[in-house]
């Protein structure tokens, strides 16, 4: 967690080197900012079985770093392994511009009007896409033995997909719940050439252990990256698949309906396959076609396509009256994407 005074709290522990105090490098927009030995005692780590619990850190980022004066990406990396275990987006010191605030208000307004979102062509395409996706990814009943304390179901293997067609992003939560959902999805993953990215926002430290036990599982750390745009940006940045799916997106995003708004905005073609929402946010006609575990999230075109669409929309700037979202994709700077209302 990054506080407004630039204090960053976190922890770093490796089950492969459980006694070791790991050295954490913190980078701001890929520039080394400060390093810290993760050796602070945290009772929650002890309770969760992370060594002796002395693996936390709390450090202030240097306030004079020029990168911190604007929106930036803070990365936490364990030095010896080089493994990145945390990323977060820090808003600029100036806060959202009036235009961005107007955009947020527009999204909120649209979020309250689901009927508008479900009307017309985009919803039709989404409905058809639901069927295609469901046919590909429908989970099958799993008879795998599962012990929550062991985290990883016995006999569960995830094959690493070299060129995944789809990247599924699984929301955070308890490690036990995540392992259960992985077990349910695993049989379908290989058939669909899908990779699975587990989102870790620090809710359960054991989540960080799952990728070590399941080599094919990716870990998407989004600590501090709050809101739709931040989560989307990180997911799009690390996903390798041609399509990006946020499963159970409601915990990741402030409003499932806002996801629909975004899907509609960028879905002016075949790029958007699917937009669905958690309980209460999904039209009946659409939910009937779903075979994925609810709550379902949103599927966008792959990173490249999404980036292209956002770029095209940005060029067609409609001003503050339009629907807007900030997005940062694949290393591109933040931008304001707009679309005329009702277009």
């Amino acid at each position: 967690m990054l506080r407004p005074d630039l204090r960053l709290d976190g922890w770093c522990w490796s089950p492969e080197r459980p006694q070791e105090r790991l050295l954490v490098d913190l980078l701001v927009d890929d520039h080394p900012a400060v390093s810290v030995v993760a050796a602070m005692f945290r009772p929650d780590l002890l309770a969760r079985g992370c060594g002796d619990g002395r693996h936390g850190f709390a450090v202030h980022l240097p306030a004079n770093l020029p990168q911190l004066q604007r929106e930036c990406l803070v990365t936490a990396r364990e030095r010896q392994s080089g493994r990145i275990f945390g990323r977060l987006l820090r808003p600029g010191a100036t806060g959202p511009s009036p235009r961005e605030r107007a955009a947020a208000a527009a999204i909120a307004e649209l979020s309250d009007d689901l009927a508008r979102l479900h009307a017309g062509q985009p919803a039709g395409r989404m409905r058809a896409a639901f069927g295609r996706l469901a046919a590909t990814l429908a989970p099958r009943p799993s008879g795998l033995p599962y012990d929550a304390d062991l985290l990883v179901p016995a006999g569960l293997r995830l094959a690493r997909v070299e060129r995944p067609a789809i990247s599924l992003v699984l929301p955070d939560g308890s490690a036990a719940a995540a392992a259960g959902r992985i077990a349910a999805l695993a049989p379908a993953l290989a058939a669909a050439r899908a990779e699975l990215l587990l989102v870790d926002r620090g809710a359960d430290p054991r989540l960080a252990l799952l990728p070590a036990a399941l080599p094919g599982l990716g870990l998407l750390a989004v600590r501090g990256a709050e809101g739709l745009a931040g989560t989307l940006a990180l997911a799009a940045a690390v996903a390798r698949g041609r399509w990006l799916v946020l499963l159970g997106a409601a915990p990741l995003c402030p409003s499932a309906a806002a996801l629909l708004a975004l899907a509609r905005m960028i879905g002016d073609g075949d790029g958007v396959l699917l937009a669905a929402a958690a309980a209460g946010g999904l039209a009946d006609g659409m939910s009937g076609t779903l075979a994925l575990p609810a709550p379902l999230g949103v599927l966008f075109g792959g990173p490249t396509e999404l980036c292209r669409r956002l770029g095209a929309a940005a060029a067609d700037d409609a001003g503050p009256a339009g629907l807007a979202l900030r997005a940062r994709l694949l290393g591109q700077p933040w931008r304001c994407v707009t679309e005329p209302r009702g277009a």
Binding site: L23, V36, V37, A39, M40, F41, R54, V59, P62
Partner: protein, 160 residues
């Protein structure tokens, strides 16, 4: 025996790395005299002077020594003064009157370091003349002579 040897080793500080006082990281490394036993996440001084031996890479540029911690201030001991000496140079001095976590930055010029065996060495002496035993002040049973609770230390290269 090994522990005794370790206690007399200097604390090696890589520039830019925040080190934590206390049992889990610094431990007794570099703590020469005038220190309490390290605790979880911090180490108190014990006495009016605490000596700390630091080393870093040879020929360091200008750096900031960043210290964080909390002074021992109470109603009976409303103020702590701290003066820092490095290899005989007076580096800085402060007066602290609030029991809150503070951060202090001390500029270290390259010529203040000693060159020893390919490393730059700094013998820090931290003077805390107002250190007091809490038990003498009816502030608990602690018999150590406390002045400052050290939490982190970092040698930060001065940019530009």
């Amino acid at each position: 025996m090994l522990d005794m040897v370790r206690e007399h080793l200097p604390l090696h500080c890589e520039p830019g790395v925040v080190r934590l006082f206390g049992v889990a990281d610094i431990g007794m490394a570099g703590l020469q005299a005038g220190w309490s036993q390290p605790e979880d996440g911090h180490t108190w001084n014990d006495g009016a002077e605490a000596a700390l031996k630091l080393t870093t890479l040879a020929r360091p540029g200008t750096m900031l020594l960043v210290l964080t911690g909390e002074p021992y201030v109470s109603r009976a001991r409303p103020m702590q003064e701290m003066t820092l000496f490095g290899n005989g140079f007076r580096l800085a001095g402060w007066r602290m009157t609030q029991r809150i976590e503070i951060t202090r930055q001390i500029r270290l010029e390259p010529e203040w370091w000693l060159d020893r065996g390919g490393h730059a060495v700094m013998n820090l002496v931290i003077c805390l003349p107002n250190s007091a035993r809490p038990k003498d002040l009816a502030d608990g049973p602690d018999g150590r002579e406390l002045g400052f609770c050290f939490r982190t230390l970092c040698l930060r290269p001065l940019l530009g």
